[in-house]
Symmetry: C2
Subunit: 127 residues, 2 copies
Amino acid sequence: MNEQSNLSRREREIMDIIYKFKEATAAQVHEHLPEPPSYSAVRALLKVLEEKGHIMHRQEGPRYIFLPTTPPEEAMNKALKHVMRTFFDNSTEKVVAALLDITEETLSDDDYIRLTQLIERARQEGR
Amino acid sequence: MNEQSNLSRREREIMDIIYKFKEATAAQVHEHLPEPPSYSAVRALLKVLEEKGHIMHRQEGPRYIFLPTTPPEEAMNKALKHVMRTFFDNSTEKVVAALLDITEETLSDDDYIRLTQLIERARQEGR
DNA sequence: CAGGTTGTGCTAAATTTTTAGCATTATTTT
DNA sequence: AAAATAATGCTAAAAATTTAGCACAACCTG
């Protein structure tokens, strides 16, 4: 018997793809899966994920379109919190520092301004 | 044959614990594992992880102390990038916004100041 | 409207993960 | 130095995951 939000490796990979694309067909999932197994295998996994309640589908023409049951925001927050806890000691500052480090090259002046504004706004709301 | 940075569920959980504590004994890993299996099982997994090259150990008195082979910074960046790609469309701004949203209550005025400084400093370095 | 394409449903088998138990070795205590 | 304690090594079995293949249905194409 299985339960809980414990996902296997493949299941995790599939969920990631679905979250990334917001929703996806079996073909799309298959296409983006690293070291992809057969199409059949992907479909079987999608079925398992649906049975476990992690995704649902709607039919559109001939095919199924799968989307997560837990809303993106929630999954997002959970993922972020997990990384924060595991690697950053729950420190917002450390995460932001690492983030800036990673993306330094691609940020424009405007981007920096918007970031500063974000923080200022949060500060005002957070009281 | 297996290879690559593909980790099973348990393996992932164990790596997270080791990263969180920087290094850990089998007993510590066991202690912090959610829905922990037997001590033996944990040790077997540690061995597998070592064989796969994800962790190494040094001996200290009677016991092994395990630590990751890839340095924390690298793993950190990788994890953060992954979350960014999967949930945040690779947008620094979106991540920071979510981050502030999550931690709003626990941030002091000083924290906000330091965050702003971080960004300002990154801006100056990034040119 | 017949043929081809592109889907899904289902089932069974291979592989990997996950587990426990016992034997052995090292350390500490008395 | 003997006993007790706390580790690890190893092996084999149980459970879960991952996979492929065939059958059938819906849609498109000429």
